[in-house]
Symmetry: D2
Subunit: 393 residues, 4 copies
């Protein structure tokens, strides 16, 4: 909650996020919360009419509302410095992430892209290399790592509070796809269950990638091999709606940790309980997205402690991600906004001629390499078919 030097907001354009989009509105509110980004252009929907209608709905200047993302990038990137968007937010279904990001980066625009990043590892690598070659930010919005207490968890592991890690349990048990919602005309369900749009993974792509990144962000562990049992429980569904994954990690601190990762969208009646538990030789921790303000910290030799966001005993990393005192709940949008803040700070560095920070824990910005890890994770899970496979294929 320290005083910050004012910097004028960056300008951004949005691709996707028209009427009825859940995540587009989240991106806009997250970007608006701290006054650090201003929406100046958009290709908000897949048809010119709907794009325009969506633009009117949110008050976007009609002259900067485009009928297609190709047009948006072509024309906006041609604007003079100072008018041109600094970055493009891509909030379309998964299948268009790659071409839009490629075009935006190609035009010299930074990118903030929803997850899962791309359909293939090769696409992700191409975008990563393209961004790196031009010193552009390509942030992938793994928003759950924006929670202050997730950053505290990461710091607890990093500083050895738990000792060498032995066991990680990360689960994501949604229930909203327990019925054939995709046949009711509900857009969110329709594209997520369509292989052409969603890619290789169903639940794995949509939420398994969050679980994978959360685990990696907090523990820093690298998956060595995995064994995944994927299922489509709802009749007629082409993609997995449930997956149970066993993980074996590369050795660290002399320990070869193991992990369990069940993800499901057919856990009937569940909301959005992404839950992480990490156990080391000296302690453990528990965090749950639906009550994101606290961590339970366990120890081999003392009573469990409840760490709360806003408490001044927390690490700098957690405190920097905090807007309100403890007891005044922060939530999903604030966490999302923290991802945006990270991207914005990196873009400002790049604009100042300095290198974009690497995709590492310290930078707190999930980037193309993180997006690639998620895509690779899904690919390997799907190809596992119940057998152990190496992450590196």
């Amino acid at each position: 909650m320290s005083v910050q030097q004012y910097r004028p907001p960056l300008k951004y354009a949005m691709v996707g996020g028209g009427s009825g989009s859940f995540i587009g509105a989240v991106h806009r509110k997250a970007a608006a919360l701290d006054g650090r980004a201003e929406l100046v252009a958009g290709a908000l929907s897949s048809t010119p009419e709907r794009s325009l209608a969506s633009a009117r709905e949110i008050g976007l200047d009609e002259s900067r509302s485009y009928a297609s993302w190709e047009e948006l990038i072509e024309r906006e990137s041609a604007r003079p410095e100072g008018e041109r968007p600094d970055f493009v937010s891509i909030v379309t279904p998964n299948d268009t992430h790659y071409p839009v990001a490629k075009a935006a980066l190609g035009a010299g625009l930074h990118v903030v892209c929803d997850k899962p990043f791309t359909h293939t590892v090769e696409q992700a690598a191409e975008l990563r290399d393209l961004a790196a070659g031009k010193n552009l930010v390509c942030c992938v919005t793994y928003n759950y790592s924006g929670y202050p207490m997730v950053r505290e968890a990461s710091e607890l592991v990093r500083t050895g509070a738990l000792g060498p890690i032995r066991k990680v349990h990360v689960e994501y048990h949604q229930g909203w796809l327990a019925t054939r919602l995709e046949e009711t005309g509900m857009k969110q369900a329709a594209w997520r269950t369509d292989p052409k749009r969603a890619g290789l993974g169903g639940a794995l792509g949509d939420i398994g990638t969050h679980a994978e990144q959360l685990m990696r962000f907090v523990t820093g562990l690298e998956i060595d091999t995995l064994c995944a049992d994927c299922t489509s429980f709802v009749e007629g569904r082409a993609l997995d709606d449930d997956a149970s994954v066993l993980l074996r990690f590369a050795e660290r601190d002399g320990v070869r940790a193991k992990g369990v990762m069940p993800v499901s969208q057919v856990c009937t009646g569940e909301g959005n309980p992404l839950t992480l538990r990490v156990y080391g030789e000296r302690g453990g921790l528990r965090w749950k997205q639906e009550t994101p303000e606290t961590i339970t910290l366990l120890s081999v030799d003392s009573d469990p402690r409840t760490l709360s966001r806003g408490n001044d005993t927390l690490s700098d990393r957690a405190q920097r991600a905090t807007r309100l005192p403890g007891g005044h709940p922060e939530g999903f949008i604030e966490a999302f906004a923290n991802i945006y803040l990270g991207a914005i700070e990196a873009i400002e560095l790049a604009k100042a001629g300095r290198p974009v920070p690497p995709a590492s824990l310290a930078a707190e910005i999930p980037q193309a390499q993180d997006g690639l890890e998620g895509v690779r994770f899904v690919e390997r899970c799907v190809s596992s078919d119940g057998a152990w496979v190496s992450l590196d294929a």
Copy 2:
């Protein structure tokens, strides 16, 4: 989560809210979240230098940063329509609410004012009448009634889901003033414990008014008489830091309900657990600010149910106050933003020549009359001195 017709943001000026202010930043973020209000001017601090420094910190146009609130109101209200602020947000310590609001309303500007509203009931009544006479909005930011699940609670009572109400328990148990924080240079503690700035009530004014309004908002009950036992536990403190209040309500539905309201800022180790429980002849409910996303609904003849924000079984009132699906936590800023949205909608009505909605439940906008109720509540508690007193004095 319905589609809304776009309306351009209102313009507002802020009085108070400079560097180090907690609540000023909250107001700004709440106003920014939905893109419906734009800060255009400010008198952010009590000295010209600090006001300017604060303006720079948040990127406010320096030419519209004023050295005093008097200057701000004089010069901003003289601007032409279209440039002039629609409303003034007052986020100063309590003692200046009255003069600033009076001047702003006098100049024809709508007002959004922090609570407790004024130092005296007479001041509150004057502001109420002034606003009414000019068809101006004078919103008091009782932010906790902005939570969707608080609105659901209100609707559950209103529609009779609990039956006639018998017992209300509302408590607000903070711990942050358990030590003499006011002597450490901490501004927040200093003015809240200073009768000149805070007014008659310490904990009563700061958080008792929240508890009173929450109770009234949800139950609609009117206090008939009350008995308050106020204490200053921390040595040298002039105002109460703890109060225990018994309530007897006016008859409704044939029942004379009763209430218990403990408020304290010396419950060592507690954060911000404003908690409400309401029991009627057929059911009960529990809500807690620190986990604001759910209500537990109790019934005389069935199992407890957990109602969650985002669930489509909730009332329209709750759903209108919702931005995200269930399981994606909303928090304090979102609730605060709902108060702003209510005020903004009322201001738009007034600008369109229609009457400002009355201060009633249906309007969802806490206004000057609600502010007055809070001030009266504090006055009567302080004068009770352990005896039963009528609310009407």
Copy 3:
């Protein structure tokens, strides 16, 4: 969980506790759990036929099943040493506690009596003095102080972990009497709402006495004055079914603590949540009967800790009251059994010619003086009628 020297079980007789009695079965199971008491005689019901039927139901020797408590005491106390019951458990409705206890003590038998103890303070004092004069135990089964974590709470306060106590909040919010259950033929409701059987207090006597004793047991504070607002919400009910009590305590450690005690049996939908919160200058604690295995320990300068029964960091007092490792839930019967163990140990002392321990915290045995405090508390609450009254009348 230390090894104990075996001692043969004491023998006891039971008055009350026949078919359909809830509490009689609890007493018998609590006494049986540790193998330290053996039921040898009974006058289990109010008519000879039902007494005999109840005796058969539980396998009591029919020759020692009596038609009346008078007969039981007369004939059992005349048996030779070694056959004679060591103590009498009194589990009748409140109105007969006094005559039965008086007769039992008069006959030289120790007494274990349910609460509330008697109808009047004078009766309680008489029993106390009678027991003291004969060095007999007269234990009153305030079972909630038998929970290990309640003893830990008491020890935390006693050893100063919280600092001088400022505020106590103890509440007991049941809902089972929210309707006129007494007219449905349900015995438990019928006698509790009948002044002739229950005494002066309804909810106050039945559960307010538990709240009062829990508060006193944990904090050791003495009530100086109180202000009680008692209500009979359910039509036609002669006794209170709801009471809200403000407490002012005698000075201790330089602080005059205050308390709030709402008790109710019309909190529709609530189960049995007796809940205690204590706040001192340096810390606070929370305990709830429905989840009795943990205490949350709050501190002015560190994170909340969760203390759990079975943990070896707990005090000896808590550990002595523990039978199982942590994580293996103990409950109501175990707590009740701890009260029995305390009484049995005191009776063994008396049988060995040593003095019965005084009614003090250290002894962990609630005795006649504690029973008297409860009766006095009810009397003063009822006579308060909303005004402050001294506990000492």
Copy 4:
């Protein structure tokens, strides 16, 4: 809580359970709680001296305290009807379950045996057949299925409240063996980590068998194949202290359900959270051993409900297993006692010349076949070595 016809207690002998045994005392208290079983003989420890000392400690008749279990069975089974024990409780480490049970059954005595049942499936089958051939009860104390709310969960699945089951998540995350406790002289740790005494499984045998039986008891699903990743994290440990198991169930109701079962004794800081979650097409449920009094019942189309023990809306199966009204916590010993009650009722049937109920859900008595399933489960997990194996080998 219905009135029951009195029946005199059965007599039993205990093998194992001497000084320092945790589980022996649990068995004795569980048997004592309801007054339906009386301990008459014992071979409590592995040496004559310690056996005698242990007998004295608990007040067992020294003439019926034996130096060895062989002697106990030989001499006690030779006693006349009416003196002879009805059954033998076996509470030794795992390695002696088989020979003791075989001898007891061979001598015509019923058996109550701790789990895991035997070292091999063949031993388990032999005991099962021996018991069946003589119409003797051979109960295996899978105590967690004694909880009323576990029985409610089973009934909810059985009656279709959740619809066809898709996914089961059962986890058992202890932390007590996170360090080399076995080298500190702690008996409990020493034998559980010693393959000679514990058998093939470490955590798998000690707690994995509980998880397997809980899952089977509640869902009735049969494992078709499994894939287990077993680890010994603590250096020098010969048996697994952690195992992650994926389950594929045989088809039922047209669905091939899947399951995830992580069990661990190195989840540092965890207590005893055996946790079950079951998801079907129409609903889900959650239960956790550390708070055993409630189930959360989820539904595809309504709000989550909290079902509580003692509520009269529960099934007969749950109510029959209940001793106290809701809100008066029952725990581990009561659940254990429910297993004993089941065994005792079955033994009474057998004594009356009627057949012992089969090992099925309706009977609520875990028997030799259930013990066998547990042993087979451990065997298959250990032999899986990360690959899918059939349960039937």
